[in-house]
Amino acid sequence: MLTLDITLRFPGFCLQVAQKLPQTGITALFGRSGSGKSTLLRVIAGLESRATGRVAYGDDIWQDARHFTPPHKRGLGYVFQDTRLFPHLTVAGNLHYADRRARGLPGPTRDEVTAALDLGPLLQRRPQTLSGGEQSRAAIGRALLTRPRMLLMDEPLAALDEARRAEVLPYLERLRDRIGTPILYVSHNMAEVARLASHLLLIDAGRISHAGALQDLLASPDTISALGVREAGAVIHARLAAQDDDGLSQLHTSAGPLYLPRIDAAIGTSLRIRILAQDVILSRTAPTGLSALNILPATVTELHSGSGPGALVQLRTGDELILARITRRSATALDLAPGTPCFAIVKSVSVAPGNIGKDRAPTAKL
């Protein structure tokens, strides 16, 4: 458990956070530009000596009124927003710098990291000659080789294209699962967050506005205004049941079977599937002759009409809660109200690969 109770004032900005963070899994830190995400990471890392208050990691007190553990003794890894590779070293030299100082600690090897982030061709290059995305990958690799007790990542994938992200994300997931390193992850990309994170911190103007298990927050119409409408969606649990011949994977959920483009995992693997509210279509009658494969019987549990043209519908399907974002006009036309039975149509391919995550061990409670 990382316990924070800190204050840091800049002219015109005040970071004030009293919060406990789980010591397992990935916690996403999500908030608008300038809301204090990087500053919070710096405080945790011990890079803001002007911050007052208390920081404790488990039983170790990192900062309080009398004591201040310097950054290099906190055992953290940090992927800076601006990469900060050492210009006097090659990429290999940068990796080695971290590796040498973390000998004997549990974590990935240099070769593993090099392979996973495809750094091989870059090893002999100087950081100044790398493209933006190449620098990001090298910086991630370097931080991983620190074999940290906890990893702080400040928008590590912002400079990467979708295809690269799709390569790097699973590797971060494997690390989380294999080594169990907790990660505090800053991102602007909700798909990334939803896939990776088990917990979510929403920060606004220097204060934590919402905190909790990812699944709860994403399924709560309450959080939606903070997240912005387009990111609303629920995460449901599934188990990989079968791999069909035509390239689809069959998943078992408490709501019934789901079909997704092939997921590379062993039969029986627990998965987390994100269903964006705007990807769900509702129908009162069981539809037929549709190209959508996933049609889940559901019951409306809540209905929120906003000020705009949209309405947010929370539905129970099996043991899971999912959200659907539809127009008010449709809600009226379909005569939806809490308790109304209906069908949720989810296009199989609309569940993005980025939204499939391997489930972690039992989630620590905040």
């Binding site: 055992g75 800076f80 050492f86 210009p87 006097h88 710098y97």
Partner: protein, 225 residues
């Protein structure tokens, strides 16, 4: 024109090399401290480190002579501790030259350290590097250009300066008679031909040395990109 005695040249090179080496050892931590500290004493120390340049070398040498002489507390202590006098000895020359060239080592290093900013040091800290470790593995290599300047200025200044050295060292052949004094003597005693020869040797030698240093630096810079 008599045969040119190269003894002073070797003595000078030894002196300049030792002084430059020790000076960098001493100046690097001082410059680092100055670049990092938020102490109010900082401008005072900065001003003090520049002061050795202000006094004419002979005059500085005069005061050092008084300080080093076995009659002074410091000089007496030195004699007791080492059995040697500081005045008119090679050791004395080294210390005097170090003091005199101090500004040339401290100032460029401090400027180089200050231009680094905090980002690379923070990055190193997050890679488990202790302050000591990151000083050597990040600050020093990144301040390379400052070291080059400090080295060249200290070295050449020690080669050329003779006021301090003459006063403290006493111009003793083989012991404290450096080449700058030898050339000076030739000029003063109107042995111009000898002076020309020694000057030419010193100039050519220095030029070649500097050329090699700068060419290596250029290649290194090109590799670094």
């Amino acid at each position: 024109m008599s045969g040119v005695d190269l003894g002073p040249l070797w003595l000078t090179l030894r002196l300049a090399a030792i002084v430059t080496f020790l000076l960098l050892l001493l100046a690097a931590p001082l410059a680092w401290w100055l670049s990092q500290t938020r102490s109010r004493a900082k401008p005072v120390i900065e001003a003090l480190t520049a002061l050795p340049l202000v006094l004419p070398p002979t005059v500085l040498g005069f005061y050092l002579l008084i300080l080093f002489s076995p009659k002074s507390t410091f000089g007496a202590f030195w004699v007791q501790a080492t059995g040697e006098t500081l005045t008119f000895s090679f050791t004395g020359l080294v210390i005097a030259s170090m003091l005199y060239s101090l500004p040339f080592a401290v100032q460029p290093l401090q400027a180089a350290f200050e231009s680094l900013g905090r980002a690379p040091m923070e990055a190193a800290a997050m890679l488990r590097a202790s302050p000591f470790d990151r000083f050597f593995t990040v600050a020093l290599p990144l301040a390379k250009r400052g070291f080059l300047t400090a080295t060249v200025l200290s070295f050449t200044h020690t080669l050329g300066e003779f006021g301090v050295v003459l006063m403290v060292g006493g111009n003793i052949p083989g012991k404290t008679k450096v080449i700058s004094i030898a050339i000076y003597e030739h000029v003063e005693t109107i042995r111009y031909a000898d002076a020309h020869v020694l000057s030419a040797i010193l100039l050519v030698f220095s030029f070649v040395t500097l050329l090699i240093v700068y060419s290596l630096n250029r290649q290194a810079a090109r590799i670094t990109g």
